[in-house]
């Protein structure tokens, strides 16, 4: 069966001072099957959010998707769509939920009018039908008293309810793929759990695929089928969630695990990753993690490491894996 989403060699370029080119996303390839959750995990500046925006062709200018990149949705090339078809995909076949519901919603319009607007943009519906559909969606995302909340303004809702309203809007076009870009980062921990549970329930009930973008590996543990770890604009490791957590293969993934304070093991001094996250206009040469890597080999600073397949759907971008394969 073919994949719902197939991204190949996605490269996003921004002009940088002195005629240079910044490449915050450099050669990202990923696939997503129907009904699957893929988590894209990385620190700030790793390119994970920009990758998500590119799927909707929303890369902010002067940035652009470089020629040679490919994004296929059900085999259809999103990068060659005409504007009308593109509008149908945005919010239609692909829905997106952003991190901050406060700035994603229009403060001067009621939740209901923002929801019906989206519904009517994607299908023919009378005002009455759209209203009915909107209330059903608010109910589906677990908002109590949906008919009352339909008439509420965003500021009248709590952070958790606003995020639910935003999810309802993202569902209005009946998407096949839902992109959730750090959907819980702005929320309290007890509300976070509610929202993640909701996303998973919706994935199952609607058979949607979910691309969950997160900076927190812990958050992803119980939620995703597969995880892709991004560092400095590239996917450095991709694996089934259980395998990634059991035996991370890339030194960056390993180091990330050691640097997270945990609640389920005795307190120990943390092992931080030295240095800082590099900036997109000055990625380190060869392996981009080599200046911070604790298992660095002489060749890591000279030659770009290949992507080494470990199993179907699992790969790591590291010279160590090449050595072990032999």
């Amino acid at each position: 069966m073919s994949n719902l989403l197939d991204v190949k060699d996605l490269r996003i370029e921004f002009p940088a001072p002195a005629g240079r080119l910044a490449v915050p996303v450099d050669g990202v390839s990923l696939t997503l099957a129907r009904g699957e959750t893929l988590a894209l995990v990385g620190e700030s500046g790793s390119g994970k959010s920009l990758t998500a925006l590119a799927l909707l062709r929303l890369v902010p200018p002067p940035g652009r998707i470089a020629p040679g990149s490919r994004i296929l949705l059900d085999g259809e090339d999103l990068l060659s769509l005409d504007p009308a078809r593109l509008r149908a995909v945005r919010g239609g076949r692909i829905g997106i939920v952003f991190q901050d519901a406060t700035t994603s919603l229009n403060p001067t319009l009621t939740v209901g009018s923002q929801l019906t607007e989206t519904i009517r943009a994607h299908r023919k519906a009378s005002r009455g039908e759209a209203r009915e559909r909107a209330i059903a969606l608010l109910n589906e995302v677990g908002i109590p008293e949906p008919a009352v909340r339909f008439a509420a303004y965003p500021h009248e809702l709590s952070g958790g309810l606003r995020q639910r309203a935003l999810i309802a809007i993202s569902l209005a076009g009946e998407p096949d793929l839902l992109i959730a870009d750090e959907p819980t980062t702005a929320l309290d921990v007890t509300i976070q759990a509610q929202i993640l549970e909701l996303l998973d329930r919706l994935r199952v009930s609607r058979g949607m695929a979910v691309l969950l973008i997160a900076h927190d590996l812990g958050l992803v543990a119980g939620r995703a089928d597969r995880v892709a770890v991004m560092y400095a604009g590239q996917i450095v490791e991709e694996a089934a969630t259980a395998r990634l957590f059991r035996s991370p293969a890339h030194p960056y993934t390993q180091a990330l695990f050691r640097s997270i304070p945990r609640i389920d093991t005795p307190v120990e001094r943390l092992s931080p990753i030295g240095g800082g996250v590099p900036s997109p206009d000055a990625w380190p040469a060869a392996c981009r993690f080599h200046p911070r890597c604790d298992q660095v080999l002489p060749r890591c600073s000279i030659e770009t490491p290949p992507v080494v397949p470990l199993a179907p759907g699992e790969a790591v971008r590291c010279w160590l894996a090449v050595r072990e394969k032999r």
Binding site: E43, S44, S158, G159, G160, L161, D188, V189, T190, I191, Q192, A193, Q194, E197, H215, D216, L217, G218, L219, A221, G222, T241, A242, F245, R246, A255, L256, F257, S259, I260, P261, R262, I263, D264, P266, V267, R269, L270, S271, P272, I273, G274, G276, V277, R292
Partner: protein, 334 residues
Amino acid sequence: MTAPLLEVRDLVTRYETGGFLRGPTRRVYAVNGVSFDLAHGETLGLVGESGSGKSTVGRTILRLTPATAGSVRFAGTDVLASEGAALRALRCRMQIVFQDPYSSLDPRMNLGRAVAEGLEIHRLVPPREIEARVAGLFEEVGLDPSYMARYPHECSGGQRQRIGIARALAVNPEFLICDEPVSALDVSVQAQVLNLLADLQKARGLAFLFIAHDLAVVRQLAHRIAVMYFGRVVELAPAETVIHHPRHPYTQALLSAVPVPDPARQRVRIVLTGEPPRPSAPPSGCPFHSRCFHPMKNQRCLDELPLLREVEGTMVACHHAEYAAAPAATIPVP
């Protein structure tokens, strides 16, 4: 036993909203009767969700926000009654590190001057010794003194937070309030700053009030943990007791929501229904009753505010703290 460094008693911080053209004046209690002690060299973790009042507690202790009632004593001095020179002297002994190193530094001031500011204001060292002292502070927080000539925008988040810490340490405080010091940082950098704080505590004998929403982060440094909900402390106990034997249903829910980076060790999550109460419309009785899942929840919870009391070594504000609320599977295994 020696006297505690900091004694906070029945602290109340009230904000007034509205008034004149903004509708009727309403009183909102951000902090509502908080008491705790802090010993020399100790870390007390103050945990709670947004709006619980944890940051306001810190700001009120430092007199950055006026207290409405209660008392704060620091090394025997009445903090809330201090004025003028006495208050300035206190501010050398109590300092704060803020969450956001981006907005707490002046973008037009180089980092050396930012750190020197406190030394100059309090005239702690002769002007010609300032530079050497600042260089020493840079080294202490793990930054090369060459960074003194740089500006905030030239630094990463982790470096800026180190500057925030150096600024606080410049006046040689005994007590540091850390208000979400790592929540704006990347995971890989967060650990660097947590280790730095642990080292500084050891080297300087600092006491910390460590305010954060993330229990796993707080546990890394705290000797004791206080959990706040709706302006009140609902549980206070040694850190490992709170983590492994939480008594308040809210603490249990908070713990079960902490992500565990291991799919094989996922626990049953307590998913709280409903939202925290609004300070403008405080509920009667126990502020947690609308979200509480305790099997013994009854009319008393709706009518009577539970006070903080001791149950087997834990201070807890729940009428039913003697009885287990959550199934054991929800509590992380040590």
